[in-house]
Amino acid sequence: MSETLRVGVIGAGSWGTTLAKISAENGHPTLLWARREEQAARIAEERCNAEYLPNIELPLNLETTADLQRIAEFSDLLVLVVPSHGLREIARQLGEFVDGSQCLVHATKGLEQATHRRMSEVIREETCLRKIGVIAGPNLARELAQCGPAGTLVASHYDEVFRKGHAAFGNHYFRVYWGHDVVGAEVGGAFKNVVALAAGVLSGLGFGENSRSLLMTRGLSEMARLGTAMGGSLVTFGGMAGIGDLIATCSSSLSRNFQVGSRLAAGETLPQIQAEMKMVAEGVKTSLAVREFATQHHIDLPIAGAIHRLLHEGGSVPELLADLMAIPTGPEFAELTR
């Protein structure tokens, strides 16, 4: 990629830091925004984000800031990587400083709880930006931070966004695909966390690969049902942001949502787990938004429903298992071909 971009990554968690690292290593002047001044200063000083991405050295052309105005005015390509519950507020503040020429991709995998809005819709409602996209795929931050080969999807209605996304992040170990189906990519990214929670439970209970594969396959079916109902395209769920992300998240003990599930299976309670976790398990909140959306639009999502009962309706792990195994079988693709 010959195009040199100024890339601004907003959110210095593990994934934000990793994306900033990749962009900087690709030769783009890159700025990483952290909410707290001292965090920004410390990352710059130590060349490492000890809190969220320990033992990974960050490149020299990666600068940090805690100033949203600075990063907004600096960047050709903005990358928004903040938890879904905080995204609207950050976007609103960012809206003070951006103009219509800028591109933005977000890497936040969730739905806004109160409104069921997708993240790109929230950004659209809070800023003047039009050239908005999403980056989603099987991307466990730590593996990528260690330059392990991986792939992802940048989806946007605007070709310029995925051209820039590709330029910023694509390289010899990170393969960036692109597409126009923003809805599909966002729903895939959000919903897989719910399935990962269930996968964690099954794993924690000691079940094997058959069980996990069954769950993932039916989970994919639900993801596609929800995604097409929201306006996504069916094929997207067979791609990076669909099955790709689902496999990674449900198979890896690195995944936070998976971890929450397996700890629940081990007998811990949700409040206990959340109190101890530094990072956000998006699936917990996504299951709320998904549940409400599905009820309103009469979409049958039994796995998501079972997870909702476990997390938010006082259900137990044995009940979850019973719920899952009680889902009626039938023609395999009935819900998708109807």
Partner: protein, 553 residues
Amino acid sequence: MRPEDRERIQLEVTSRVLERHMARSASGPDYLETLINDTIYNERRRLERDPPKGDEASFYAGLAKRLPKASQVELKHMLEEMLRRFVAEVVGNFDERVYRLSTSVVPTGLSLLLKASSAAGPRDLLSLDGISVVRDHIELQGEVDHVKRLLGKGTLMVVPTHSSHLDSIVLGYAAHLMELPPLLYGAGLNLFTNPLISFFMNNLGAYRVDRKKTASIYKEVLKEYATVAMEMGYHNLFFPGGTRSRSGAVESKLKKGLLGTAVTAYINNLKHERMRPNVYIVPCTISYDLVLEAETLIDDYLKEVGKSRYIIEDDEFSKPRRILNFMSEIASLDGRIAVTFGRPLDIVGNFVDQEGRSLDPRGRVVDTKSYVLKNGVPEHDHQRDQEYTQEIADAVVKGLRENNVVMSTNIVAYTLMRMLKLKNPGMDLYRLLRTGGSTPSFPHGDVVRETAATIELVKAAEQPRLADEVRSATALAAVDDALRHFKSYHTHPVAERRGDRVFHEDRNLLLYYANRLSGYDLELRGARRSSGEPQASREVQSPGAQQSSGEPR
């Protein structure tokens, strides 16, 4: 259009389209030949169906003869000849004197129209005065002042709903009331051949659109003409739905071809550093108690949904008597034509403020130009601009939806349709329309009560807008008003009260008028209401509601 501009625009349109294709012709030796061949083919096929006018037949025969032996230079000449012909036809023959007067001729023209038609009509209608019909019955609402303020700040593109050929006349007069210069408007050729309407068409700033011409370069000429005219500062009117709504519903799918000229013209303006580069898109709705062509439109819609005729030439509009009847109904029934302007938009669908500056969703001022910069300078980008056009389309659909005004006729038709569906659960819509279901009538009291419920539903949804007469009146008055209209103009009464029952007579028309409330999820809300039946009916029959519906006005 000013004569000096007319010449300029002809040259500019021709040369732009020509240059574009000359640039593309570098892609392959057959490019121009294929393009010309396709155009000749399309035109000659059209002439087989349509009697040729003037030298059309010989012109294309001549081109066809020259084509096989033509050199590249000759091909360029041939393309230019075709373009010139298309452009000249589109621009038409404007009379400069008429143009200058045109803001004042519209009302006069309406009187003429009425006089002309009344020659075939009852004598007592001769006294009917077109000026007062329009002046007294058009209600301008919404962002009228805002739109006026933007006049000096950029070029307007007014995009109204379309239900009748009268729309362009109504809007022409609305523009006159608002002291806007005439709006440039692409009108179907059939309107120019209609003796009654050609008068207006020639004076509203209309240019000719022949929808039977399917050649791609013809469509290109039309788009380019609209673009260049906007760049010259001519305010523009076009119906974004492309044709009159067949179902009666407000447009939800727009034609993006002409809409996209807003973005193109804006960028061209910036590139040429023109004084007032901005283009403002103004959604606008036109609502009638009764629609002149309703019978033909809904028939066409129901004949085969999705296969409607795009061009209808034998509708009510071609029958002077019908226009006359319609006009006299408007005059005698206190009919209303509500013209409502929505908030003006920029070229990516942002609202603009009173100064014409773009606003983000939080009301912060945005530099409009920033959207079209590429490496710091304004530049076209086909893919991006197509998406911007989609953003405009989405914002316009929203604007139309929010500013749609529903009249008593719409409310009562919607109510009767809902009652019919409830009375005949599970019955296929077409069968219901044909047979009327299990009962030919409903008790008048029930209709009033259900109408009150519909009005409440619309008020709660905050969309669409209720016509003032409906908002301020009782449900009883709304039902009376609607029934009065329903038995007046149409061939058969749409619905009629006999004794204490209301008969649904022409259910196709009921559907047509009801459809103006479709797309708001009112059905869904209504279903929720009726699923909690006891509560819902208590609500409807609450003493307050009864009191208000029984209250004399």
